[in-house]
């Protein structure tokens, strides 16, 4: 079955250009994607998302609620999604830590929600107004247990708009929490963008049951691995739990059933992998050196690559727009044509660890970490490229 969560049906259809920040683009896109419930707790550098939505949501009949903390925010968006409403929250590192408990619940109970994490410096309270990319692994493994998750890493304001719509499409399509990983620079930078026309957006809705209530199995296996989801109040009275459950949704201790259900949670993303995983390839065709970069680090990397090209160095970039599931196949495919990888990121080697794992020693992988709250200067990345050349 071919499925597409890609939001643009006709990329040429655009609204007039305007200046927008990443956070504002995210809030706009959420409304355009049909999000009608937002719950959140203020935290820099994500707060503008909440502020815009507090203003816009009631105008479109949606609901904004300020919760008492980020644990409550996650609980509330799960509840609203069970009631059939597309829901979202936004936060930064410390709040993202608090959300992990109920992100696990959303994975286990297969409740579509979108969680925006505008990354700032950590650990702990860290650097509230400085960019970082230290939550890449937390986005993957922050909650306990073997759980599936999708995380997207846009690198511009325009891409943040598209990635936000796509985050809702993916969460609905696969019934999974989707993490939108921005960083402080992407959230706060203002860029001139021509947003896609609303009519040119592909908006995906969760699969609905086609059977009468008495035959409905809320956690049944299907060819896609994704069970249909009935909203509360529509006549399908069923049970939702974070406990290991069978296809009826009720707790089970049967090892065979538990194993099959947990493997299905992963299989549904494996089956959708080619829809979910998206990368951008920049000047890679003749490259000997590959840069693997995402978010605001990829902006510096683009400039560094152009400067290196001017010096005759054949370098290009593989930029993951989807961080999780990790684009390991894409990394492996390009590795065959490269002499080395360079991974600049605003942490001490989180995505680099995954690149190393995918490359499996075939070529050297050079880590370039930055954790001082500053962006990479293109010259920093250029120097590392020159060392590898």
């Amino acid at each position: 079955m071919t499925r597409s969560s890609r939001p643009l049906t006709d990329p040429s259809k655009r609204r007039p250009p305007r200046m927008l920040s990443g956070n504002e683009a995210c809030a706009l896109a959420a409304i355009d994607a049909g999000m009608r419930f937002y719950a959140g707790y203020p935290i820099t550098p994500s707060s503008e998302i909440a502020e815009h939505l507090a203003n816009w949501l009631p105008r479109v009949g949606g609901v904004f609620i300020a919760m008492e903390d980020e644990i409550a925010s996650m609980g509330a968006i799960i509840g609203a999604s069970l009631a059939g409403t597309k829901s979202m929250t936004a936060t930064s590192g410390p709040g993202f830590s608090l959300m992990q408990e109920n992100i696990g619940y959303a994975s286990m109970a297969e409740v579509p929600v979108v969680v925006v994490n505008v990354m700032r410096g950590g650990p702990s309270t860290g650097l509230p107004t400085s960019p970082a990319q230290g939550d890449v692994m937390q986005a993957r493994w922050g909650t306990h247990g073997d759980h599936p998750v999708i995380a997207l890493t846009p690198y511009s304001v325009e891409e943040t708009y598209e990635a936000t719509v796509r985050a809702f499409n993916l969460s609905e399509q696969y019934r999974v929490p989707v993490i939108l990983l921005l960083d402080e620079v992407i959230g706060h930078v203002n860029e001139k963008v021509a947003l896609p026309e609303r009519e040119a957006l592909r908006i995906v809705e969760r699969p609905k049951p086609e059977v009468p209530p008495e035959q409905y199995l809320p956690y049944v296996d299907t060819p896609t691995g994704v069970p249909p989801m009935a909203p509360f109040g529509a006549g399908y009275r069923y049970h939702v739990t974070g406990l290991a459950h069978d296809e009826t949704g009720f707790q089970t201790n049967d090892p065979k059933v538990i194993d099959a259900q947990l493997r299905r949670l992963h299989r549904k993303l494996e089956l959708g992998r080619h829809d979910i995983v998206e990368v951008d390839e920049f000047l890679l065709d003749d490259a000997e050196i590959g840069v693997f970069a995402y978010g605001s680090s990829a902006r510096s990397a683009r400039r560094a690559i152009r400067l290196a090209r001017e010096k005759g160095i054949r370098v290009g970039m593989l930029r993951p727009k989807t961080m999780w599931p990790f684009p390991d196949e894409e990394v492996r495919a390009w590795t065959k044509r490269l002499r080395a990888w360079l991974v600049p990121e605003m942490n001490l080697g989180q995505a680099a660890h995954e690149v190393e794992w995918a490359v499996a020693g075939a070529v050297p992988v050079r880590r370039l970490g930055r954790v001082d709250g500053n962006l990479f200067h293109p010259n920093d990345i250029l120097a590392a490229i020159e060392e590898l050349a």
Partner: protein, 274 residues
């Protein structure tokens, strides 16, 4: 005879609760209240947290959610805000609601969101094996209070009143018929309603405190519960080992979701004019 079976998911019986547990009494009382109000069952949503009492949701044939520990009120808040036409009832315990979920409890009451909370207070963490909770009486024993609980306890209903709940009541499993009426009134209240029901945990609390049989524990409830009217005439000394039952507070205040709807409607009107 009341037809409980039509409301129950009998495939999931027997209940996990121990013999003599008060949770079943509360479950039946909830069903009588819902039936009396003739609520369409597709429109009823029962949300619970984690613990013995929170298993209750799974036995009822409504839209049911068994959430994470302490978080039932947050899920319920999302459901109610997104779909206000649903009747949302939260079932929780003393540990779930006042320890790990304490902050959510305060804020749900403050918002005065239209949820009915049935808090089964058995004075202990039952499911994990009888550890002391914020409502374990000072001096009482628990597996983590082998020498008697040295901490002060929460007055749960008092907390809800202070935070701004519209309806607050307390009863016991001995007073099951009173529970029906209080739950009914809680559901009918357009705002946050707390019905705190004192329930026996013979297995954990009872054994640790030599409280006797389940029947003895219910008789203790009878002998220590006084109505609000009677309590007014009693001295502080007489009230020392007593607790008040019945309606403890009625405080009509603007309800959270209804107020938000007014905002939506006002903005729509403005838009229409413009």
């Amino acid at each position: 005879m009341f037809d409980y079976q039509s409301y129950l998911r009998l495939d999931h019986f027997p209940l996990i609760w121990c013999p003599g547990c008060g949770n079943g009494v509360v479950m039946k009382s909830m069903l009588r209240a819902i039936d009396n109000l003739r609520l369409p069952r597709d429109q009823v949503c029962v949300v619970s947290g984690i613990g013995c009492s929170s298993r209750l949701s799974g036995y009822l044939d409504f839209n049911t959610v068994h959430t994470t520990h302490g978080r039932a009120l947050t899920f319920a808040t999302g459901i109610k805000m997104a779909k206000p036409e649903l009747t949302v009832i939260v079932v929780t315990g003393d540990g779930d609601c006042t320890a790990i979920g304490g902050n959510h409890f305060i804020h749900a009451a403050r918002r005065n969101i239209d949820l009915t909370v049935v808090l089964i207070n058995n004075l202990i963490y039952g499911m994990t094996g009888g550890q002391h909770s914020p409502t374990t009486p000072s001096g009482s024993r628990a597996s983590t209070a082998p020498f008697g609980n040295s901490e002060n306890t929460f007055n749960v209903s008092g907390l809800a009143i202070a935070a701004g709940a519209s309806f607050v009541a307390r009863s016991t499993t001995y007073h099951a018929q009173q529970c029906d009426k209080l739950i009914e009134r809680g559901i009918q209240t357009p705002g946050f309603a707390l019905i705190e029901i004192m329930a026996a945990c013979p297995t954990s609390f009872g054994r640790a405190n030599k409280a006797g049989s389940p029947a003895d524990m219910m008789l203790w409830q009878r002998d220590h519960a006084v109505t609000a009217q009677r309590a007014e005439k009693m001295s502080p000394e007489e009230l020392q080992d007593k607790f008040t039952i019945g309606v403890l507070a009625e405080n009509p205040r603007p309800e959270c979701r209804a107020e938000y709807q007014k905002l939506i409607d006002r903005l729509r009107e403005q838009e229409a004019k413009a």
